[in-house]
Amino acid sequence: MSNTQDRLRDATTALGSTLQAADIPPLRLPDATLPSRAAARRPGRPVFGRWLVPLATAVAVIAILALVVAVRGLPTRPHPAGGAAQLVRWPVRGHARWTAWSETGRQSGKLVTDAVAASGPGSAWVFATDPGTRLRPIAWRLSGSSWTQVHFPGRRGEDINALGASSPADAWVFTSANRALHWDGRAWRVVSGFPGRHVGNALVIGPSDVWVFGNPYTDAGLNGSHTTWHYNGRAWTPVGAAAWLRYASSTSASDIWAAGGSWNAVIGHWNGTAWDKVSVASLLPPRTQYCGPLVTDIDAVSAADAWATGWQGCQDTGGQAVLLHYAGGRWHRVARLGAVDPSIVSAGKGAVLIQLDPDPQQPGHVKVVRYAGGTLHQVAVPLVSQIVAPSGTVLPDGTSFFAGTHNLGRHRTAGFVLRYRP
């Protein structure tokens, strides 16, 4: 069998084929499942008793809604009756470092934000798609304080695998259709001749300096790619020394940090001429029969200063997470983050903001913590119930954007974008 995905398909199909249509019992729909007012009545139950519980529930719901409105405030604009989703300012109180935007419009509650990246002071990109209809990717551009939807020549069902930007006139997108698209300040255009496939991440230093990292474990049904490509403005070149690296961050063309490796415990640094790689396996939680530790994210501050998160990756329990810091010429483990799945939201000199997914089996309860001065503090973040797209680019002043989904109640969610200014 050629690869893991093929072996998985073969084994599950074989197991599935042991069940045939003849094995499936007929559907048993008890009469009780039919909504029936008569069935709801209980003999001898007082009439008032039937209404007491719904009445109390209604009062409690109204009280909670009033409390939520008092704390959070109402959206600044009413939802328009139709049209594509818009990102509008969402008032948040008591969060001085944060600015929030949330989607509204006809498609509100359906969009899932895929990628976000800052492209300069007061400018950024965010991409989203509708998981239900698999429409084309939608792009918004932030200019000042408002988001504008921009035409993006995406295909139906195409996913945004990676987004990066170096300026308001230079942004790149790499899609699940193995296409590269470039924003030149006026329009998105398809870049012909991109040889990569299964792109996982992209690092855009400038219009003629782009790094693209393959995703070895893509879920596209075939083995992914562990190739790293570099674009010099004219041609794409595979960089053998950076193969298997997956997550990357940079401060300049000669200061790039990247993490990955075939065992997911390697961190590399590009100094402009060569990649220098080191294993941090000894700093990660221990490898056991059921745990495969890995570096989950990395963020550069300077050539002598970088942060990374590690996770034990244990089955069922997930395992322990750690925070790593590069200082004094080597990597150190500086904090234990507990039983969480971590990733970095924003990093700066002496401080780092980390997203923690505390229970992989109960998604939607993400926490954000800040590590500074040797201690961890939980950070109050507006709107967050789940972050799905940490910033692809952090500005030199530490400003970063990230996107996710927040809960509107009644199983409704809405996409959001947050800006954090340290």
Binding site: L8, T12, G16, L29, D114, P131, D219, G292, Q361, V388
Partner: protein, 189 residues
Amino acid sequence: MELDSAPSWPPARSGPGRDADGATDPAVADPAAAVTALYREHALGLTRLALMLVRDKQAAEDIVQDAFCGLHRRWGHVRDTGKALAYVRSAVVNGCRSEFRRRRTARDLPPDVPAWSAEAAVMASEERREVLRALAQLPARQREALVLRYFLDLSEAETAESMKVSRGTAKSAAARGIASLRRLLGEES
């Protein structure tokens, strides 16, 4: 249950319960027939899905039955009957999670792949057993993502919808699931 009169699935809709000519949508008029038609078409696939997740044939059948009964109970609240399959698939995944919680720990699960008579020949390959054992060892979310993606061949968006998580989370769970599977199968160099 009169199966021969069941409407085709999904019923066309041009308004809440009525077609373009104003006729009542048969699925709305007879929820039991509509749910039964959906069951006839998809019960096998969904039971196979549950089997992958809970590794227990009887529990898989019960979970699927419960999911369809739940759909029937809530039929009046289903706004878009065309999405009923997505709803019931999500209910099956959720039912499997509940089954895991009910059993308290993964150790309470059957130790190996099911061993009823029909599967003996098909599963004779040790390689397949090895893959299924490895799949069973993955965290629940990774296992769900892989089964939905590679067994049901769902798209990334459909997988996320079935798991009731964001697409990013589903993508990450599948990617990490494959990585873990590779490690467990000793494929990683």
